[in-house]
Symmetry: C2
């Protein structure tokens, strides 16, 4: 007799029905489908920790600005490829206020989510030098960026950062860069799926190598400032969000409105290219795209042909939000803090239940509490653990599916409110009772 809510047999059968052999090879959307169908068929509400869906209401400042733009017939006019001036201006200020980085508004363009920003950036950076057509991902990472490389048709390398933190990172990176075919290093900070944040020491290593090897760092800031161990929310005041931009001029920043401002539905990202490389001439890029500068290729060749720019009204929304944050009228992280609180509570429930945090440290500090955290359980592979937890009404994705070498899971707190923590605790207690260590 176990405390399972759904029998292992039912879970296996449903996976088979959905064409999923094991959960390491399942996509997030596979897990969503399995959970949705099991929920309906068994009349059980899952504790949903598999998908990073924004779990908070979007900023009212954004919604109001968007409605005003709609009333003013913004729908009629093609958006400029360079985007609304005010949006670029406020983004440049945001980067100055919260990262202490100077980046001209001229080198910022809105994209249809950071997904388009990354796609365009991958297309461009892999064409700057024709012998350097590959990308190096510091894993674990967002799996879809690798699918983007597959769609583009260019090669990539990855490695798991777990064993290469601190100064060890340098030799590991050099071992890849010495191959000579790498155009760029890509990572997210804070990291999806592990919530690891690269330390200043690590960012410095990446920056120095980018300069030395003449490659471009693509820093994905999908969770802008959401490392709550420090307060990055005061405009113009230290501490500032750590960035490779402090250590090299060869960088592109991807800023998203989806997570920190809960604006995922309107698909608006910002592609921010360092002043030093935005206007640089790359001979091979010119041959490939007939473009005299990197920024010209990104905006007038890539963003133009990919979608002719980004929908008009969301640009006004995000510009208004950034303005409010820059002027101190709205706290950058006011809403996002909720995720930190949830993670603190959920991590305690899991660790009390015998789970451990897999990616636990940044240097000598514990990783912060934020959107994601990682868990493992003695004697379980990630794939088996994810499947077992479905029987106890909890969904997650495996770390291996995100390029990790470690056995374990990514748990996301975006969809579980603090009021659901008691239910999570009950289910973890049940799991613990059935799995004595």
């Amino acid at each position: 007799m176990t405390n399972e809510l759904i029998s292992k047999e039912k879970v296996s059968l449903k996976m088979k029905e959905c064409g999923v052999k094991d959960l390491d090879s399942a996509t997030i959307r596979d897990v969503v489908r399995i959970a949705n169908e099991l929920q309906d068929e068994n009349n059980i509400k899952f504790v949903r920790m598999e998908m990073g869906v924004p779990g908070l209401a979007p900023s009212q400042i954004g919604i109001n600005a968007e409605i005003k733009a709609a009333q003013n017939n913004a729908a009629q006019f093609y958006p400029m490829l360079e985007g609304e001036k005010e949006l670029a201006t406020q983004t440049s200020l945001l980067i100055k206020n919260f990262m202490d980085i100077d980046l001209s508004s001229k080198n910022i363009a809105p994209t249809v989510g950071s997904m388009q920003g990354a796609y365009a950036a991958f297309m461009a950076v892999t064409a700057c030098h024709k012998e350097k057509n590959a990308v190096l991902f510091i894993d674990p990472g967002f799996p879809v960026q690798k699918t983007q490389m597959d769609v583009i048709g260019k090669p990539y390398y990855t490695f798991d950062i777990y064993d290469y933190r601190g100064e060890k990172l340098r030799d590991k990176l050099k071992s890849f860069l010495d191959k000579g075919d790498i155009s760029s290093i890509v990572y997210s900070n804070p990291n999806n799926p592990t919530w690891v944040c690269l330390t200043d020491e690590e960012l410095k290593i990446i920056g120095e190598l980018a300069t030395e090897y003449d490659i471009i760092v693509i820093e994905d800031l999908a969770y802008f400032g959401m490392d709550f161990r420090k307060d990055y929310s005061q405009p113009g005041k230290a501490p500032f969000i750590p960035s490779v931009a402090k250590y090299t001029n060869n960088y592109i920043l991807l800023i998203s409105s989806s997570k920190v401002f809960n604006y995922a539905g309107q698909r608006l990202g910002l592609l921010c290219v360092s002043d030093a490389i935005a206007n640089k001439y790359y001979e091979d890029l010119d041959i490939r795209f007939n473009a005299k500068t990197l920024m010209y290729a990104l905006v007038y060749k890539l963003i133009y042909t990919l979608s002719s720019g980004t929908a008009h009204t969301p640009q006004y929304a995000v510009a208004a939000i950034f303005r409010a944050v820059n002027e101190g009228k709205m706290n950058l992280l006011k809403d996002a803090h909720e995720y930190g609180k949830r993670a603190f509570l959920a991590k305690k429930i899991f660790t009390d239940g015998g789970f451990r945090i897999v990616y636990a440290k940044d240097g000598d500090q514990n990783v912060g509490d934020g959107f994601y955290f990682t868990i493992g359980y003695p004697g379980f592979t990630g794939s088996d653990l994810a499947q077992e937890l479905i029987s106890y009404g909890i969904t997650s994705i495996t770390l291996k599916g995100c390029g990790s070498k470690k056995e374990g899971l990514r748990a996301c707190v975006s969809q579980i409110g603090q009021e659901e923590m008691e239910l999570l605790k009950l289910r973890i207690d049940n799991f613990k009772a059935d799995h004595k260590i």
Copy 2:
């Protein structure tokens, strides 16, 4: 002494400043810039006929639906890749009501404008059979679609339809298709830049050859139903918008909200794949994109990695507009008719001034009055004529820049209201006085 508003020297100088050698090689955006700067510097208002910007207010039904969606926090939630169900349902009905074509809502996905729809379609169709990696454009056409092929990195062919109307089209198409490397035929109907509409005879030839050669026709319906020679605006009643879909199962339709509903600013197109090929297995496509069907590749590989779908609120807007049109509560072409009226007046002014319509006929009929028309003047190349007209305060683009072999210009009526016709007449009269034929 001439009637020029701006001297030829000033126009030449400005072109040089903008890096434009001649107007055949200029992009539309180059012409926009030249005109903007000359306007400011000479305090003259141009009659702007160079760019196809929607010139009418967007549908209030759309705006209202969009505002309601924004108030309901649509910004928070990631859009589904397949789009809002209601949008696909209404698009399927639209295709049935106005084209008399059955196409399942399951095979319709929203895109970030038809620009993204075309990009994704070009990526997919050129990968279905690896030996068929090229696209054939029936020119003249929208130049950016060729830039898309350059960005994708696949070859394309073009030919000017001028000398190959009617049955002559068959052998011309076969001469290309016999090469064996063509994956698809692409055209817009009505045509940008000429407003030529393919006749049923021509559509039948294209359809038959598509079936015979196992290739896919991409029919760009950017100007959906805007051939005003017939009334296509009654839902469920003949006449229906002519389409290749009547003559082959191998087709993809691109429907845009930009022109017929003045919704360009919100970037929403519909990618509609015929039921017969949407679920077809193409071995090479599977190898390239790990996708078992064409529709899966388009939605879950291409639209996913290009932008993770399309902004949320515009989907509600366009769904509401389509619904109103399907239910007969709003006339499909009510607003768009204005362009036909303008074209009628403007064409008369030009022909009275000694100009001729370059692309004048569809079969035995005169081309319709719509968004664009084409003009030539005795003794002038298109490039020289476009430059000369700038001196008289009128902007346009050349046909050669759109892949035509003919000397002449595309004139667009979207930006000139009926109240500006008197000014246009005055300027054309001045031009005529200075250029006795």
